[in-house]
Structure formats: C-alpha cells, structure tokens
Symmetry: C2
Subunit: 366 residues, 2 copies
C-alpha cells in the first residue's frame, strides 16, 4: 500500500485511528464556502469526532458554535466554544444536572418535543439560575423524535414562551431518513419544503417568528440552500466523511479524512487476509455501499472488509492478485465514521502522511 | 417496569451499563460445576467484560487463568492472574513490545498460525529474556485464522520447538462459526471431532504430544465434553450472557446478567417509544433472535429495540398496550454483550437490585 513504509505509522499500536489533516482542511473549506455563499449558519454536529481540537478547527473555518447530543460532548465542546446546541431531549435528572453545570459563559440552546421535558428543563434551569434557549423539535418524516403536527409545534412554542427560565428561539429538525444519492434528492427536498412549510406557516399565523430554523445532515448537505426558511445546518460526518457518504455521492472517495490503520495478522486461509481491525475498531454497521462489507481500503476501495469479528477484519482477496504479507499495514475507511471514532481513545493526526499530533476522543460516553 | 423505582438506578446518568451480581454468580457456578464434572480446565475469554473485577470472580470460581485478545486486556488481567493466554496472532512491533513488558511473574502463552509471527515472537521474546509458551492455532471450519491442514500444524509445532525463547505447549481453535441452537449441535460436534481428530492424530504420529488442547465458545459450551481430546475451554459471553445466547438456547433469558439502563426520552411519534440507548450504548449488531432488532427489554423480552441511531433506540409498541412516559426507565439486554460492554467506561454492579459498586471497563482499546 502506498505510503505504508512511513516510520511514524509503523510505530503505532494497531488498530489506530488516523485523521488526514489536509483532507479535513479541504472538507472544512468546502462547507465553509458553501454556507457563506448561501447565507446559512454552520453549526457542525460534534458527535462525529468527539474531539475539542476538531471543533476548534471547525470554528476557525467559520462554524458559529457546536451541536452536541450528550452532556459529555457539551462539556468538552464548551471548552472551545461559548455557543452550544444540545440537540437531544433534555430528559432525566442526571442529564439535566450535567447540562446545567456547564460554564456560566456558555450560551446553551436545547431541542425538545414534549411538555414533560419542557417542564423538567424549566424547573431545573430556574433552580440553576440560568436562561436557556429552546427549539421545538419537528418531525419532517424521519419518525424518530419531533412533534408531528403544526398545531403541536405552535402549542409547544407557546408553552416555552410562558415557561420560567426559558426563551423560545425557533425550530429544529433532522432529515436523517434521507439516504438517497445526492442527485436523486429532488423529491426529498420537495417533501422537506412541504412539511417544513406547513410548520412555518402555522407558526407565522400564530405570530410566532422563529429566529432559528435548524436542519441539515451530511447526506443532504449540498442541497440545504433549496430548503426554504432554513437558517442553520448541522452536518456532522462531513468533516471526516466515510464509505457511506462516498457511496451516496455526498463526498468523493478522496475526501475521506478518517481511516483505521491495521496490521495483516494472518493469511492462513487461502484467498483471505485477516487484519486486526474488527468490530471493536471499525464498528459492525451494515453500510450503503452496493459491495457490502464493513469498510474498504483507503488506497484500494475495491478491497472490502467482507466480515468482522471483534478483533478481526476479513478481506476477501480470492478474486485479485494482491497478496500482502503478515505484518504489512493497510488503512481502512469504515462505513460509518461516527461509530468507528467512538471506539478509539485517540486520533493520530497526519500531515504530509506523517503523524504530527494525537488528539483525545475526549467526549466519548455520556 | 418492575424494580424501576429503585433510587440507586434513578440517580444514574443514562444510558448506563448494569451487571446483576447474583446472576453473574449463578452463571459462574454453572460453568465451574460443568468443567469440574468433565475434567476440563476453564480459561474464560475476558474480552467480553474487560474488567479486572469480573476476572477475579471467575478465578475465585475456579478459572485457571485468563484468555485475552489485546495487549491492553493482557495488562489489565495480569493484575489479577499470573496465567495469561494471548489468543491472537502476535504480529506487529508495538503489540509484541507491550505483550513482552507484562510483569515477569506472568506466565504467558501465545497462539499463532504463521512462520512469520513465530519468527517475530521468538526474536522479541529472546531480546526480552522471557520464555513464552506457544499454541498452534487450528482452523476447525470457521475460516478466520488457524492452519488448515494437519501437515501445517505439525510443521509449525516443530518450528516452535526449535525456536529460541519459545516452548510448544499445544493447540488451540475457536468454533466461532457454530451458532446453531444447542439442541441442533450434534452435527457440529461430529465435525469438530473429525477435524480436530485429524490434527491430533497427525501430531501423535509425529511424536508431538500437546499438553493443551484449547477450544470452546459460549454457544457450544455445554457440549464441550463431547469434543474428544479437549483439555481447556475459553467461553467469554457466558459470564454475562446476552440476547443472542438466549436466542440459541445456550442460556435462559433469566441468566442475562448484563443490561443497559435507559430513559424514555420521547413518545412524540404515535406507537413508538424512544430511549436514550442507541448504537453507542447497545452496539448496532444484527442478532440471532427471530424477532430481529438490537436488543429487548429485560423485564419484557417481547418488547424489542427495533432500530437504533447513535443515541436513540426505537421501541415499536404499536401492537401492545404498554405506554411508558417520558422520563421512565427501562433495561435493555443487547444482542451481543461484548460489543455493548466495550462502549461503556464503567459497569454499575447491582446486588439485590441496588447499585453497590462500580467497576472500570479498564481493558478497552489496545
């Protein structure tokens, strides 16, 4: 494999998570340019990388703050930005307590979809002496969280307005059900506009003017400007990308900035190469690539990790002439970068193909 | 849910990994009795729980030492046992260096299947001034690692015997491809006996007498005594069990000692309940249960985690009358306990339904 003679890679214990900094920078510039061009605020979801250092790079490239899903992510990202969106229902005493003990300088906004979570948040924020911004979570078709009807959205926004210690700021949604290739998303955009439009019209009729309309995901990133009324997007994966994202054309293969360095540990079974990156390094997530498998080699995406057990990844090489030796190194791009990063304690940062830094994946856990 | 009013559970940040100590003890007694009855040595694979405390309980119940797959697991388990089996190819300079820096008192045995890994291990052990026991890894049909033919096994055992700093101790295999229900394993046992028999006969003909014949897995655990020549078994999952293991009848549902405590965070979509245990708490591993999904509720296994995203688990309750409220707690038994434990920093230990201790999952990573 190209570049695999690199001494700084050969010294690493494998499996090891690698981040290619030049590719990260190119990915950041691309989204930064796109959001500036279209007047969208960019608030990346930091669950993808869970590292303060990558959030800092995103902020330096123009991000307005961080999106998080867990209190731990909020704590870690609050060390580099004063502007945190907690895009997860604020339910449970421990979750609320940890959220409300963020530094006083942190401007915290929370998404919610129920009167129960609203009441608990208002009570806890009041006791903590904080003012918290609140967004009403809308379901635009994913059917995971979010209110289903415009009437519910209006009622919840009004209830927020009259809740102590809270300020209604707008609405939020996540089009996570859209996984179609980029060029087939016209229908998804139309549906999003229809559903979002109904919510926004009902709010307008009720004299409720959202300051924030927050949406966006990596698969639909480059069509965000076609969604009417949107003020902000929250792509996560885009900074690192992965095999799924490349499979649907939302990035090029060469935009993949994350890979797992692995060692060939066995070639005992003919036609097969076993590497030391399995489900505990790559994650065992079925992917969107038509070829199946759990990842593919960075330098040869036609070579697929066909199966994984916990510490083994199996490459089927029966149909090709490539035969690595025990001890050789390879780099694997996993199907789903968020799931893979979450399995690693640290990211080894490459510049010019050499390890120049190590970042803690500090926001793992809750 | 029964027992969910428990104050010590309500205080936990969710999702939280729980271990029911009474069930652990019953699971340990069962395997301890079985292995004593059949004269098998019991060397549990500690990759399942990655905690020194659970290894200590296994040793107290009669385990002869620990099986590990990573240097980190070896380091952690070496704090509680002097007898470590590294059941993974010892390939790569960093892996070898970490292995060979285990305490001098640690009796280390290593499994391998190639002349390349043998040469590297011999060289490194010699430099470190250690004597390492070596097992030849056999493939009995899983087709992952392990030599394929009796001739290869004989050649490798002989090569080990003449390698400096190494002692040949026997053979090892893993029947991880057998996932059939316990009562349908007669054919698998027959196949294992045929294949293992061929290896053992070839070794005997070559005057090579293995002191150790190490096999066993949780799915085939209770048929281990039917495998001729076996001296030792290495079940991992059995101490905690999971939904897959119950699905194939290798444990009862009430033997499941591990669960993930989760909070209901949204009921906004009719017929659906969203909990805060998703793929980052349960692992997104397809299971063996005919009902599908990624886990089931401990107290109501008919309620299945139908889908997961990173921090959300979706329970489909459309066909039942059960309707929990936002803020309620549930406990989920995941499909694959090893993958779920690996996502948690700590295990909360329950005795009599109350949290009495917290154990670090200290052996995560490599």
């Amino acid at each position: 494999m190209r570049g695999m003679e690199n001494a700084s890679l050969a010294a690493l214990m494998t499996p090891a998570a690698l981040v290619d900094l030049e590719r990260v920078e190119a990915n950041l510039q691309r989204v930064s340019r796109y959001t500036r061009e279209h007047g969208l605020r960019w608030r990346p979801h930091t669950k993808t990388h869970k590292t303060a250092e990558l959030t800092a790079l995103q902020l330096a490239a123009g991000a307005v703050g961080a999106t998080v899903a867990t209190p731990r992510e909020a704590e870690v990202m609050a060390t580099v930005t004063p502007d945190i969106l907690f895009a997860y229902p604020p339910v449970g005493a421990a979750r609320l307590a940890k959220l409300l003990s963020l530094p006083a300088r942190t401007k915290l906004t929370v998404a919610l979809d129920s009167p129960e979570s609203l009441a608990a948040l208002s009570r806890a924020a009041g006791q903590a002496g904080r003012d918290i911004g609140v967004l009403v979570e809308l379901d635009l078709g994913m059917r995971r969280v979010g209110v289903e009807t415009p009437e519910q959205a209006v009622a919840l926004a009004r209830a927020i307005q009259t809740s102590p210690a809270l300020t209604w700021r707008g609405v939020i949604f996540y089009p996570g059900h859209v996984r179609a290739p980029l060029h087939q998303q016209a229908e998804a955009v139309r549906e999003q506009n229809t559903r979002l439009g109904a919510f926004l019209e009902a709010l307008a009729r009720a004299q409720l003017k959202p300051e924030v309309v927050s949406g966006g995901s990596t698969p639909m990133l480059w069509r965000s400007h076609e969604v009417k009324g949107l003020t902000e997007i929250r792509p996560g994966i885009n900074v690192l990308n992965d095999r799924n994202t490349a499979s649907i054309g939302a990035c090029a293969w060469d935009d993949c900035a994350f890979s797992v360095l692995a060692t060939v540990v066995s070639t005992a079974v003919p036609g097969q190469v076993v590497i030391d990156a399995g489900s505990k390094a790559l994650a065992k997530e079925e992917g969107l690539a038509p070829e199946g498998g759990y990842g593919a080699l960075l330098d040869r995406p036609d070579i697929v990790v066909r199966n994984v057990s916990e510490e083994h990844g199996l490459l089927d090489v029966s149909a090709m002439s490539w035969r690595p030796r025990v001890g050789d190194l390879v780099r694997v791009v996993p199907n789903h970068v968020c799931a893979s990063v979450n399995l690693h304690e640290r990211l080894h940062v490459l510049r010019g193909g050499t390890v120049t830094d190590t970042w803690a994946v500090a926001a793992r856990g809750w």
